[in-house]
């Protein structure tokens, strides 16, 4: 009979032990964005854990996922980019090659989903004259109407894998990243006729595009995965629509403040170690000011996005870490000293957008 007892104890322990985890989802109410920034967390593939969080400058605290709090559902898989335009947040989500992917439109104040549009592998977003332009790896740039949130026009691009974009005058510059193949060009789209008017050779792995006040366009080129020494910044003269020069620095992400470009890069070197670099370029002469704008030795595991606060020149670097734990946002002063660090409360932070009241 002793064994009987043992058996029951054993059985009972299995039942008890296998009880569900009682944790409930972290709660979050909608926030009223005033002084702070939204953080887009890309999430991992195929984990459906993209999220949108908010850092408040007044309370110095970061929210939990606002999208899920406002909409009960999850944002989706692999968020790529977002912008705030008018009173709306536009987010691209690309789910890999089996794509029926989306452009999500949210109300900025309630973070409620207003519309979800189907766009194949949508990548980056820019706004222009009441319209939204979305690049897509189906080799088009989509023009979206901001009243109906639906596609107005599909603009075919002759390059492969349209990626980052910038607008100068009425010209849209879109980097042809290569997508799932290879390419090394930037396409120029005329926003009046909504057609591609030119293609400019810039280098392999063109990724992010920014423009400065002088009308020069800066394109980060990451190389072609086998020869990382090809990584550089290509400078396009928008008046000539021609390559002006190249700056030989490792470059993945880029943002501009005071006619200086702040760049982050994560490229592997020949010894299989990741080479991480934070070059700073003076855009008036296209000269390298610093090889590393971070001056206090702060180590970031995986720089995944860079945004400079236009109001004060603070530089924000997103650390995606290992994509298996929540990322962090590092804030540096213009001198490159760490000002503060916060969790992004999500996996793989890739972009922040500032909000001021």
């Amino acid at each position: 009979m002793k064994h009987y007892k043992l058996l029951w104890t054993l059985t009972a322990s299995i039942f008890l032990a296998s009880c569900s985890k009682n944790d409930s989802a972290p709660t979050q109410t909608a926030i009223q964005p005033a002084n702070g920034f939204f953080i887009l967390n890309q999430g991992g593939y195929p984990d459906n854990n993209s999220s949108l969080t908010y850092y408040d400058f007044t309370t110095n605290s970061v929210s939990n996922d606002l999208y899920q709090a406002a909409n009960s559902k999850q944002l989706g898989n692999l968020a790529q980019d977002f912008i705030i335009y008018g009173s709306k947040i536009y987010i691209t989500l690309n789910g890999g090659t089996s794509a029926v992917n989306t452009l999500a439109v949210l109300d900025v104040n309630t973070q409620k989903l207003l519309k979800s549009d189907t766009i194949n592998v949508p990548r980056y977003i820019v706004s222009y004259n009441g319209k939204i332009f979305v690049s897509s790896w189906d080799n088009n740039v989509y023009e979206i109407d901001t009243a109906t949130y639906s596609v107005d026009k599909k603009i075919p691009v002759s390059g492969v894998g349209p990626e980052g974009m910038a607008i100068v005058g009425s010209s849209l510059y879109v980097a042809n990243s290569g997508g799932y193949g290879t390419d090394s060009t930037v396409s120029v789209i005329d926003l009046n006729s909504l057609t591609e008017i030119k293609k400019i050779q810039v280098g392999y792995g063109a990724s992010r595009v920014v423009a400065n006040a002088n009308g020069d366009v800066y394109v980060t080129c990451q190389g072609n995965y086998t020869d990382t020494s090809l990584s550089h910044v290509a400078v396009i003269d928008s008046k000539q629509n021609a390559l002006k020069t190249t700056v030989n620095v490792l470059a993945s992400q880029i943002d501009i403040y005071n006619n200086n470009a702040f760049i982050s890069a994560i490229i592997y070197d020949a010894n299989y170690n990741s080479a991480i670099a934070y070059p700073e370029i003076d855009l008036s002469g296209n000269t390298i000011i610093k090889q590393n704008f971070i001056t206090d030795g702060t180590k970031i595991t995986y720089p995944y996005g860079i945004d400079v606060d236009a109001q004060n020149g603070n530089i924000y670097v997103d650390d995606a870490s290992t994509f298996s734990q929540n990322g962090s946002i590092y804030c540096f002063t213009e001198d490159g000293a760490l000002k503060f660090k916060t969790s992004s409360n999500g996996i793989g932070p890739c972009k922040i957008v500032f909000v001021r009241s």
Partner: protein, 667 residues
Amino acid sequence: MRQSLIIFLYLFFSSFLHAQEDSSHHLKEVEVKSIKSNYAAQSITPVQILQHSEIQNINGNNIADAARYFSGVQIKDYGGIGGLKTISVRSLGANHTGVSYNGIFLNDAQNGQIDLGKFSLDNVEQIALYNAQPANLLQTARAFSYASVLELKTIIPEFNDREKIKLKASFNTGSFGLINPSITMQNKINNKLTSSLNTDWQKANGEYDFTYLNGSVTEKGRRTNANINAFHAAYNLRYHVNDSNVVNVDAYYYHSQRGLPGAIILNGGKGTQRYWDDNFFAQAIWRKKLSPKSEFLINGKYNYVYNHYLDTSSFYPNGKDEDIFRQNEFYVSAVYCYRPFSFAQLAYASDLFYNNFFGKDSSFTKQIGEPARLTILNNISAKLFFDRIEIEGNLLSTSIQNYSDKSYNVRSYQAFAPTVALVYQPIENIPLRIRAFYKNIFRIPTFNDLYYSEVPNTTLKPEYAKQYNIGLTWMQNLVNTFLQNISLTADGYYNHVKDMIVARPGTNIGRWSMHNDGSVDIKGIDVNAKLSFLPIGKLSYSLNANYTFQKALNMDKTYEQTYKNQIPYMPKNFGSFNIQANYLSFSFAYNAVFSGYRYALDQNLYSNLLQAWHTQDVLFSYKIQSSKYSSWRIVFELNNLFNKQYQIVWYYPMPGRNSKIGLYWNI
């Protein structure tokens, strides 16, 4: 009954370790079962065994469905009939578990993992799981080279004097559009030579409905692009001169093509990926006793693997992404075992195998090139037997030379790995035994680890797993009591993994590279109870319960947020429970599995949480003896009775309630 008990006791006390192999087919099923479960409790290293009769009462199609009833085991199951199923023992990961087929190890040099879903339960005689290694010294060196070993043995044909040919046919059908006919032909060529050919065809659309949680909303979905068409044929030729001289030859062929349904993607579309899979191997084993003191074992194998992966998504520049891989393995092994004294046994094993790999066309296969590897394993082992104590130790030497047709800086490896184990019975008449082992073993980086990532890291080091185990076993057979056969085992263990091979993101999220970054501490307890009871009239029944508690903590201090977090996909609590009952020609089984909550990512946060799950299955069968030589058996399985919706791998939904009916005919 009394007679068989005497036979049993004789076997048990005289030579319990060797009894199980040679004498089994002289005994009836019931006795065999008792001996085997006793063997499990007496083994110097922990072992769990499922016999054919038990396997018949387990719901499922493949080895993975059976292996999840072993304690300490996690089956990583991507769901459905065609979904990848790999085994991880004591949180060490699939690459640390060797899987052997009739004595010789299966191998995939490319990814190091064996898909257990490919092996049907149809023709399996026995599945055994050994922690550390099988206790028998007459083993290939390779058997000592894993952290644990899953051993498959196919049915050996048995004939009585007048039988020449036996035929078994079965047909299974049920949920997921399953059609699964199988034919086995066994042939007695002469008194010493028998053959068996087992063929099995499986076709299914693999589709099922599921629900899942999206935030706090329950959503419905259907798993599509999940069809599978698989065929397998296994030929066995056995030349059995006597129990001391046996040659065993196997030829095995597997072919499948399947859709890969992929994960649920909230903003995604239908899967566009297909996968073709061919495997052929031929192997031979010769075991001969030269004298009562000495014995040898010679093995040889050729293995061929073909994988073809195709993604027809329109987003690829040519409208597709395609990879074709081929692998060969040539393997030879010789073992010599000598018993100089009645209390000591020594063995030496030497294995040599050569693996090569060919890719075709795609950018990835261009990068991986045509690597090859030569592995030489040498193992020396010794065992000492005393009255109530047995000690075993071995030292394995591994020498590996890598070759690459690329300009990669390939490295060679040379390492020694020791194991010591003992079992001790403190008091003579009390069937309590204490067992313990220590094993320090490693896994060599696979071809994928070395070459297939975005930036090949050909300087990867082996991943080491140190294992400590201490356990108690209680095994007892009683006469005319309520409980007839008791086998209880409890083991506590500590594993430490260093230089763990982990993927870290490369220049973008889709491209990763491998690093020796991780370190994991695993502390666990495995408890197993196997009980058979005195029949109530014509109702006989038995019970099996397993429970595992384990803390598998990430000890990598590089990341503060994940330090000492439970590693992904390892539940702290896991258990299984089986009841089998027979009444006349009816039999019934209840099989249940329970898993605690897990995390899908390194950081133990609610947002990475995978909920606990359990499944409960029942099985009914009825046997008809239609004539002296032919019998029918009809089996009905109802799986996941309560339609539990769950995921083992994040966003790979598992099937809900499903059923299967099978008809088996023996002649």
